[in-house]
Subunit: 317 residues, 2 copies
């Protein structure tokens, strides 16, 4: 294992891919891998790209990869797909185009699933980003399809979050925007050659007025990613935001918030394992029958399991 | 407290409202309330209505309330709004119309927030549904705005899940559908007087073909809720599904799955409280500084907190 980790840390692409797969499968080696990787991480600029469905996020990322490569950067990409046990995983047409970069040794692209069909980013997405960072990528893009919790989760790992919107969406979508607006560092109105582009810019600006006085007020940029229009400006703004984080106290605060969330997430996973185990010990037909007949209740059962978890879990002392 | 609970159990609307508020604020009384309520629950038919943004879910629920009232049913409604700290909570225009039922003593309508801006259903949504059930509602509708995890969570509590779709949505939305299709007991193509209605019915049918051979294959219904078209048929199908659950082993299995999820959720909440406390004890500037400098890592820190939680939490023994 240590040899594989070392190869990955030296930038060997096949080793990186294997390491990510091992972590993705939640193997017993995950903790060892992550503990070894961690001291080497912290150098990459992690850029989240999220937004409404149909906003052209993949095309934007495709153009941003081009731009990063032109600057001589070593690029990692994590493309997050919603996992559906029903459809057996969806393939997004736009993603196929992005794959043209995959033959380039300076670009590593990885598709990953979400936590359940509409769930947030899985732990392994965080871990894969950290691994790519530790293994020498200068820039890591994380693209999430904008359907739910994954949009919120992106701010738990990215240094810079780009939120892509498009002109001509319905009212419910506007509400969705209101929810995710607060996570954006940069707002991108893509497909801005469409009707309604000025309207959405104005709406977004009105919302952003509420942020006035903050050290960083998200800029609003218009792009037409398909034609490459506005992509250079977007790349520049992303770099501006990176510099902002390096010089403003907000950069440090953001890192502190992310660390807190990170530790809580690891705790949650470990606790889930413990309770699952204890619940497995308690769960039998008799108990379930009593629950179904309402002779006992979930609160009483959970209380008992909790007590047993705390009493019976062996510790390392 | 016991007096208030008794009044609520006897159907007093103001007491029910107060009890739900107490539970929503996660007070010390939550456990007592829920333990008292639990044996009285299990009689209501809990119906989830979810679906894509703009699918007309509120209008559908509004018509279904009418239909239930006409059958002499005592109705509870929980309307779940995405909570946004940024916009300070969104008001949905459609919801206002539904409020016309609120003056009717046989209908109780309650708005509740989600867990964070795009998160899943909060624990208190489950608890409110159970309270309405225990307090004598025959039917409880839970309407979720279809933006994320709350769509998935609805199947953890509802007996019958109606998924509303509309003709003429983009490709990304179709993928979203693929993810949520598996949670639906009944598929409703609303606004079916629009162009593309046959196309979406065909698409949905193709997906449903994968479920062939199951004891319940979700029916696909066309409605125009605004005009009331197809609402009677939908009400009937909902009753059919209720009967199915009462006679088929799947009904019992579903309840068992929901109980398991319920107990796990309570355990998670209680454990989160414990680790939060321990994390609060550990978290100091020195530790955060070491994390920022990568002298330690989140995995090591989480391991230490977990150990201390298990060692130092007093149990009732």
């Amino acid at each position: 294992m240590q040899e594989l980790i070392n190869k990955a840390l030296n930038g060997n692409v096949r080793s990186i891919a294997r390491i990510i797969s091992i972590v993705e499968n939640e193997s017993q080696f995950t903790e060892e891998i992550m503990k070894t990787m961690y001291p080497h991480s912290g150098n990459a600029h992690i850029i989240g790209v999220t937004g409404s469905p149909g906003a052209g996020k993949s095309t934007l990322v495709d153009k941003l990869i081009e731009s990063s490569k032109a600057d001589g950067k070593n690029v990692g990409v994590i493309a997050v797909d919603p996992t559906s046990p029903f459809s057996g995983g969806a393939i997004l047409a736009d993603r196929i185009r992005m794959q043209r970069h995959a033959v380039d040794p300076a670009v590593y692209i990885r598709s990953m699933g979400t936590r359940g069909s509409l769930g947030g980013l899985s732990r392994s997405t965080y871990e894969a980003a950290l691994i790519l960072d530790a293994c020498g990528k200068d820039v890591v893009f994380i693209e999430t399809v904008g359907v739910g919790q994954s949009e919120v989760d992106i701010m738990k790992i990215a240094d810079t979050v780009c939120l892509a919107l498009v002109p001509g969406m319905g009212d419910d979508i506007q509400i969705m925007k209101a929810g995710i607006m607060e996570i954006a560092d940069i707002l991108v109105i893509n497909k801005s050659d469409r009707d309604g582009s000025e309207k959405i810019v104005a709406e977004v600006q009105t919302m952003l007025d509420l942020l006035k006085g903050k050290n960083w007020v998200p800029p609003v940029l218009k792009t037409v990613a398909e034609k490459g229009t506005g992509v250079k400006e977007l790349s520049n703004k992303i770099l501006c935001h990176k510099e902002f984080l390096q010089t403003d106290p907000e950069g440090r605060n953001r890192k502190l918030r992310q660390l807190t969330v990170e530790i809580e997430a690891i705790l949650q996973r470990e606790l889930a394992k413990l309770t699952e185990h204890q619940w497995g010990q308690h769960k039998d037909e008799q108990l379930m029958e009593k629950l179904l007949n309402r002779e006992t209740d979930p609160y009483t059962v959970a209380g008992k399991i909790l007590e047993d978890t705390l009493l019976n879990t062996p510790t390392r002392d």
